[in-house]
Every structure is written in C-alpha cells, then in structure tokens.
Amino acid sequence: MVEVRDLTVSYKVKGGTLNAVDGVSLAVRKGETVTVVGESGSGKTTLGMVVLRLINPTSGQVFFKGEDITRLGEGELKRFRGRMQLIPQDPYSSMNPRLRVGEIVSEPLLGREDREKVKEALNSVGLDWAVVDRYPHELSGGQRQRALIARALVSDPEFLVLDEPTSNLDVSIQAQILNLLLDLQSSRNLTYLFITHNMAVAKYVSDRVAVMYRGRLVEIGDAKEVMSNPLHPYTKALFDAVPEGDFRAKLRELEVRDEGRQKGCRYSDRCKFVRDQCRLREPDLLKVKENHEVACILY
C-alpha cells in the first residue's frame, strides 16, 4: 500500500546537518496497522509527514500503491490527495475556529456539496447531524477528535496517518477513540500508519511495530513478537518505562542526554549492553526471525 525506501530527511542546524529521519525503509500492507513508536525527536512524526508528502525527503523514495510519488509536484499530487488522510495530534488547533463543523468536515470534498457523505461520515464516528452548525469551541475534545476523524473519512481515503491521535485527550476518551478507529479500520478496510509514544496504545492497536531511535529504525516486527520478545536494548527500555512498579528508576535510563553525533550505534551511549564494537559501526537491520528485524550488534 505505502512504502518508503531508504528515506532520509535532513535539516541544516548550527554546525552541520541533523538527520531527522535517517535511511528508513518501511512497507505498510493493505489493511494493517503499522505503529511507529519512539520518544520525542525520534523522527516518527517527520516520517508520517514525508509519507503524506508534506515534507520533502532529502533522499529516498515514497511509494503509494506502487507508484513513486517522491518527486511529484503539487499539481500531480492532486490525484493522491484525499486518498491519504491525516488524523492530527491536537484536535484544538486542527480546526479553524472561524469555520463551522459542517464546513470543516466537508473540506476534503473540495467544494462538491455532498450532504449524504457528510452525514454518513458523522454518523460513522457517532456524532449527531446537529453539530454541523456548531463552532469548534462549542465541542469537547473528544467530539472534536471525532469530527476530525469524520473529516478524514469524508473523502473515502484508503490510507491514514494517525499522528498521536489520542495524546491530547482525557484517558477516559482515549479508549473510545481508539476503539472507534479500530472499528472504522475493519468496516472500511483502512490502512493505518499509527504514530505514538505511548506503549500501551501501541500494544492495543498494532499489527506491526516499528521502533525509531534518533531518526533510525532500530527494530521492526509483528506486534505480538516485538512486545513479548523485544530484542533491541532501546525497545526493552521503552517497554520497561510503561508505568508499572518501579518505573521511576527505569525512566531515568530513558532520559535524553544530548550526545553529539558519534561514530557507531547511536544508542551506544545509553545502552546497558554496550560493547567495544558498538562504537565502530552503525548496525543495519538484521532479520532475526520471520517478521522480526532488529538493528543491534548483539544478534
């Protein structure tokens, strides 16, 4: 469905370039949910934006349904707009406060007035038709996120990038929204690229999990496999940081120390299992099992 090959996005920063995404290859198959997890600054959101062609990659390719869309201009991209949609992180700033909900939800129809489509989309997210005349500030956070999901569905997309869609919501509403997203996925046969830093959410929604660390894909595999048998030291640390028991001590391990760019594995400074070889060369993804790859010298 969607594939990226050897994708790199770099920014110029003081004293050189920073690779927000560094040589990432990843394929999302039709109907599945691939979750990208990682801490802030790991490049997971950037990856999602590149897939949607909102950010141009420095190198590498993006494919949508087998077609290379990496170098398409805004005009040619029109064909793909609406077939890929985005569910944003912050339901507050993602709605223009001057527009009514009806106008917001129908935006992807690009002016083709289609009451039925809007009605159907609102219905499928459990919102009443009456909200179309309301302004965003009259809705609760959960209602806004539902409206934004309806907005994404109205153009009949096949593929959705979900950029931490529940991280700004109350815990009680998070579950509702996640269930809604899963229901919609099965009823409409949608493909999800789900971006999150929340491991509990990742556990709940994923078919496959991709772990990113400082722009690099360090582990990828079937969700069950990765969760039950995390291989990369970073993935282990991430799962250990899920609040249970003595998580405070473990969170310490995850604290970001801003090391300069060094040779070798970029996790080596924080890794408990670091060896001399780690400092020599950055490891590539290695297939450990069917459906489980890891970039670590230990395997």
Partner: protein
C-alpha cells in the same frame, strides 16, 4: 445574529458607534448642502462680528475674521473625515498586499519585501510625512492635499504589511492548514478559506484604531499649512489660525481641537469594541457572564 447582539452589548463599541454615526451624518449633510445645518457662510468675512464669544447665535463663537466657528467646523468635516479615510484604506490595501505576499510566499520574496518595509518603518512617521509634503508641496500648492495624502500613505502602509505578514505566518503553520493541504486544497483556496478570514477582522480593527491616529496626523500637517490649500476650512488649520488670537479668543482654536479629539477617540472606542465583537468566542463569554 450573534454579531449584532455582541455589538449591542458592548458599551464601548456602542459609544464609539453613536458618536461616529452623528459625525458621519453631519459630514454627509455638510457635503450635500451646508445651509441645512447653519445660516452662516464658512467663507465670507464679517469684521463687525469678529472675536464674538460662544453664545446662542454663535455656539462656538466667531474667529478673528468674524466667521462662525461652528459653521467652519461643519464645513471642515468632509475634508477631515474623507482624507484620513482614503489614507487608511490605501495603506491597508498596499500594506495588506505586501504582507500577505511576503508571508505566504516566504523565502527571498519575504526577505526583500520586509527589508523595504523596515526601511520605511525606520523613519519617524510624522517627520517623514512633513518632509515629503514640504518638498512636494513647494512647487504645486493646488496639489498639496494629494501630496499630504501620499505622504501619510507612505508612512502608514508598513505597519499593515508587518501586521498582515505576522498573521499570515501564524495561520500558515496552523495544523488546520496542514490538514487542508493533505486534502488537496490549492494555495489560493487555503488563502481564501483559512488565511484571509483571520486577517480581515484584524485589519478592520487595526485600521479603525488607526483612523484616530491618522486624523491627528493629518491635522498636524494641516496645522503646519500642508493640508488642503486655503480657503478650504480644515480643523487642524483652524487650530493654528486661532493661536494668534489667544488667550482672549480661546474658542476659535479650542473647539476645532475638541472636535478632532472627539472624532479620534470615537474611532478608538469603536476599534476596541470591534476587536471584541468580531471574536467568534465572544458569544460564549457573554453567555457565561
């Protein structure tokens, strides 16, 4: 209509609006036929009635030449309202255009346009306007009104360019604009749908507030004799002409000055009120109060 209701409830806006309606009403009548408002002529001299204090016959008194000050104030309104209005509208259009282009296209265009804007902003406004009018006005006295307009536009537009650019930059990076891009809206559509609706109320509010300042600035130019050529009555010029008769004849400069102040203040009140009334979240706030 919630906007209408907000306007009604906002006392500041109402006060500004009432004063303005009266003044604009007087201006229109004065421009159509001054004799509907007063029996005196603003031009003809009558030295037997010079320097009369305010009374029932001459409520603002008469000046050194015996002209009724109230009549002259009325006759001055069209020039003193219309000129600042033209200046502000032209500044908004020019500055708004520059700002939107700079903010939306970004990059080198932005850099270029903003450096030009800075260049104009760097001069102290009223001094620049005085200089421009003085230099241009020397040669063509009859075109002095036009020159003073040009001068105040030159001074006025950069602020709007800054304002518009800032707002465009802010809105441009909002997540809802990202969503619009994903959905395939073109740049023009995004501009029309998301950017301009945030910009226009801001420009409206700011230009209303600015009207007061421009009226004052124009009066300063007129005070120095750089406005419309005589004998056209003009509030700023009347203040200046009255100075030589102080302190005995205080009314012939005080009343024009007072009217300038009232007009400027009413625009300020209205600008403040409009800012609140145009915020879509205001309905909510009023409902709770």
């Amino acid at each position: 209509m919630s906007l209408y209701r907000n306007v009604r409830r906002d006392k500041t806006l109402m006060a500004g609006l009432v004063i303005l309606v009266v003044i604009v009403g007087l201006t229109v009548i004065s421009a159509t036929d001054l004799r509907l408002l007063t029996s005196y002529s603003p031009y003809s001299l009558n030295f037997s009635a010079s320097n009369l204090p305010p009374s029932a016959k001459h409520i603002f008194g008469t000046d050194q030449e015996g002209r009724d000050v109230f009549t002259r104030v009325l006759a001055a309104l069209p020039v003193d309202i219309l000129t600042p209005f033209i200046i502000v509208v032209a500044s908004v259009l020019l500055g708004g255009l520059v700002g939107v282009v700079a903010g939306y296209l970004a990059g080198l265009v932005d850099e270029f346009l903003m450096r030009i804007t800075d260049l104009f902003l760097a001069f102290p406004g009223i001094l620049l306007a005085l200089a421009i009018t003085e230099i241009l006005g020397q040669s063509h006295v009859s075109l002095r009104l036009l020159y003073s307009e040009v001068a105040l536009i030159v001074v006025g537009w950069p602020v709007y360019a800054r304002l518009a650019r800032g707002q465009v930059l802010q809105v441009k990076n909002m997540p809802y604009v990202t969503l619009a891009k994903v959905s395939g809206l073109s740049r023009t559509q995004i501009l029309r749908r998301h950017v301009l609706p945030h910009l226009l109320p801001l420009l409206l509010v700011y230009s209303t507030l600015d009207m007061g300042a421009v009226i004052l600035n124009y009066s300063v130019l007129a005070f120095f004799g750089l406005g419309a050529p005589p004998p056209t009555p003009e509030l700023g010029r009347m203040v200046y002409d009255g100075l030589s008769a102080l302190p005995q004849n205080w009314w012939s400069s005080l009343f024009p000055a007072l009217i300038i102040t009232i007009i400027a203040v009413s625009f300020s009140l209205m600008g403040d009120g409009l800012r609140d009334a145009l915020d879509p979240r205001m309905g909510e706030r009023y409902a709770r109060a």
